[in-house]
């Protein structure tokens, strides 16, 4: 008997089952198929203005900074402002996301680089897949459009987000994910990000900028 078989045999011995019981299999298949939502907190619910207000309040609690702009074309100027005000170099790395690519970067003096980060970038911008009002959380998916290394290696991470991508809760993001990747499918990496990186491992003192970004700036479009 190999280890896999031994572990399954031990589980079934302890549970007093043989594994082929139809009702058990049916129950498991149903749960996997239906994915019942459980208890969803009211905090993130409401219409878009309510979700926007909750999202902003929760993201600020988590020490992210925020800006609201009218359209995607305004993003480069806002990002340039943010970098200038924080004394950051005027460079920016991004993936192949068509929404980011279509922005008028030439209207700024920013030097724009493309592709994943090798650790030498100070600033990066990503476009979010969705956001969650309940906890002020961003949802980012991996891929050529928004490489995952951009979420973690640079000192300053800027995330652009359309207003109507602010959903109430995690469950709504999962529904959107199933729409994009199919039921049971997933991107290689889905990052839920709530504020900039931090650690409290030294004397329980909360310090920002542990291994990931020291600053998280969220630009809401629309």
């Amino acid at each position: 008997m190999n280890s896999r078989e031994a572990i399954f045999a031990s589980i079934r011995r302890s549970l007093a089952v043989h594994g082929d019981e139809a009702p058990r299999r049916f129950e498991v298949e149903t749960r996997l198929k239906e994915a019942p939502p459980g208890v969803v907190p009211k905090r993130g619910q409401g219409d878009l203005p309510a979700r926007l207000a909750t999202f902003k309040a929760e993201a600020e609690r988590a020490q992210a900074s925020l800006a609201e702009i009218a359209d995607w074309a305004g993003a480069p100027a806002e990002i340039a402002r943010f970098l200038r005000e924080n004394n950051c170099p005027a460079t920016l790395r991004m993936g192949a996301d068509p929404r980011l690519a279509a922005m008028p970067w030439s209207e700024t003096t920013l030097e724009v680089l493309h592709g994943p980060s090798d650790g030498r970038d100070v600033n990066a911008v990503s476009a979010a897949f969705a956001a969650i009002a309940e906890t002020g959380t961003l949802a980012l998916v991996s891929g050529a459009d928004n490489p995952t290394t951009l979420n973690f290696l640079p000192d300053n991470h800027i995330v652009v987000l359309t207003r109507d991508a602010i959903l109430g809760d995690y469950e709504s993001v999962f529904a959107k994910l199933r729409g994009a990747y199919g039921k049971g499918g997933a991107p290689r990496t889905l990052n839920f990000i709530t504020g900039p990186s931090r650690s409290a491992d030294i004397e329980q003192t909360l310090l920002l900028g542990a291994h990931g970004p020291r600053r998280l700036h969220i630009v809401i479009v629309g």
Binding site: S10, G38, V39, S117, T137, P147, A186, F192, L207, G212
Partner: protein, 475 residues
């Protein structure tokens, strides 16, 4: 062989901890957790309903664990990953080492993992000639010191900033010796700089998993630092080590558990990074690992199913029980002598390494019940500690004076008339003997008790006889 345990010496360990002034100073930091959790709970009216939901999800999954593991395994394979099974610590270590060797790995970065601690993975990797670097700040610090974690989510909570500074000066020899490390910010920034180079150079990244999702074949890690993410996206391969009870059915189920996890652990509404990883990088992905392996460890857990310690398998490793435990707060985590401290460790340790080795730990409780009160998945920890005490007693593992003492007491306690008579006699005798000072600073067979405080001398009559006299008078 698991990580070596000194749990059998809990009493000696605890005594040492109580007289260690430096440790007692550092332990003060752990008290912050209590207020933070309470504040996070107060902000979420649905918190208790979520605890019930979390408990039900875990119970349901455990009752169908074989089927959910099959479903999980199928989805991992579909997404291009591989699943390996390990019955014990030795097998898990061997699988990880073989995987690393097959990829020609010379250096490994590691996200925080209690399973890695449980199986003593770092020593094994080093012995196999592979450099293993812990990247969670707390884990990195204790790795430099050659220690085990003293807390499951704050591994270096037993240390002060001064201790960390000393350690960094000893370990980071190539940095200027006159640099300032007086502020915690400077310590953090130095660790960031040193570890950044390790992240970029590593051949393999090893993380644990807070949850595994059967629906999608996904592993979830939760961190605040981002170290677990750099560990898994930069090297050519990502190895996940997790125990079999980490599986949950669906993404929705994971969201229920995540909502109680961060609040119970650090008092955050959500941890900074909750990362869902499924398989290796996709064909057009510009980054991420090219290989994805999951090592599923049993190490005694399958035998706990269906028995009186099954509830312990609901544990999601938040640390709330130890944060609220008066014993943990007094002695810290190392006194427990193995990997898991506090109330959850007192229940889990005897299950995993045997009651002969770990049987002392369930005695390290005042049964105040706060651990059960705050447990996000409502594990009846005091009850289970009581089960272990009974087993220890039945198996004659407790010390002889305690067993005979209990037998002696039980003889009287199960004979009410005899008990009343002897209690009455003893109270009168002690009243006479203690008349002078009104208290005893020493008593035979009670030296352990009177070493720290005096016993007030009885007033002469027992409570029962006084009560009888009083109710007679009222009538």
């Amino acid at each position: 062989m698991n990580e070596v345990a000194t749990s059998a010496h809990f009493k000696e360990n605890a005594h040492e901890a109580l007289t260690d002034a430096r440790l007692q100073g550092a332990l003060g930091f752990s008290r912050n957790f209590v207020g933070r959790r309470a504040a996070a709970v107060a902000r979420l009216p649905e918190f208790d309903a979520l605890r019930d939901s979390a408990r039900a999800i875990k119970d349901h999954t455990l009752a169908h664990l074989d089927l959910y593991l099959e479903a999980y395994e199928r989805k991992v394979r579909e997404s291009g990953g591989e699943v390996h099974y390990a019955q014990d610590a030795e097998e898990a270590r061997q699988i990880v080492i073989d995987l690393c060797k097959s990829m020609g790995a010379k250096s490994v970065t590691k996200g925080k993992s209690m399973i890695s601690e449980e199986i003593g993975l770092n020593h094994a990797l080093e012995a196999a000639g592979i450099e293993a670097v812990e990247t969670d700040l707390g884990e990195y610090i204790i790795q430099l010191r050659g220690e085990t974690p003293s807390h499951i989510i704050a591994p270096a909570i037993h240390l002060t900033a001064k201790d960390v500074e000393q350690e960094f000066r000893r370990a980071h020899r190539d940095l200027p010796p006159d640099r300032s490390l007086a502020e915690p910010e400077q310590l953090l920034s130095e660790a960031r700089q040193v570890l950044r180079a390790k992240f970029l150079a590593a051949d393999v990244g090893i993380t644990g998993a807070n949850f595994l999702i059967a629906e999608t074949g996904t592993s979830i890690i939760v961190t605040n630092e981002g170290n677990g993410d750099l560990t898994q996206i930069l090297p050519q391969a990502h190895i996940v080590i997790a125990s079999i009870e980490k599986v949950v059915p669906t993404l929705e189920d994971a969201a229920q558990l995540l909502r109680v996890l961060a609040r119970s652990a650090t008092g955050q509404d959500a941890s900074v990074y909750t990362t869902l990883s499924t398989g290796p990088r996709r064909p057009h992905d510009p980054d991420g690992p090219r290989a994805y392996h999951v090592v599923l460890l049993d190490n005694g857990r399958s035998a706990m199913l269906g028995g009186e310690f099954e509830d312990m398998l609901r544990c999601i490793r938040c640390g709330a029980c130890m944060n609220h435990c008066p014993v943990y707060q007094a002695v810290g985590g190392h006194a427990y002598g193995w990997v898991y401290p506090g109330p959850m460790g007192a229940v889990l340790t005897p299950s995993l390494i045997g009651v002969a080795e770990g049987g002392q730990l369930p005695n390290a409780s005042t049964f105040c019940g706060r651990c059960e009160e705050v447990c996000p998945v409502r594990i009846p920890l005091p009850n289970m500690m009581r089960h272990w005490r009974e087993r220890e007693f039945e198996r004659r593992l407790s010390p002889a004076p305690l067993r005979y003492g209990l037998g002696f007491w039980a003889f009287f306690a199960s004979r009410p008339a005899l008990y009343r008579l002897s209690a009455d006699l003893a109270a009168r005798a002690m009243h006479l003997a203690g008349r002078g000072k009104g208290r005893f600073s020493w008593l035979p067979f009670a030296g352990g008790w009177t070493r720290y405080r005096d016993l007030a001398a009885p007033e002469g009559a027992t409570f029962q006889s006084q009560w009888r006299a009083r109710s007679g008078a009222v009538r």
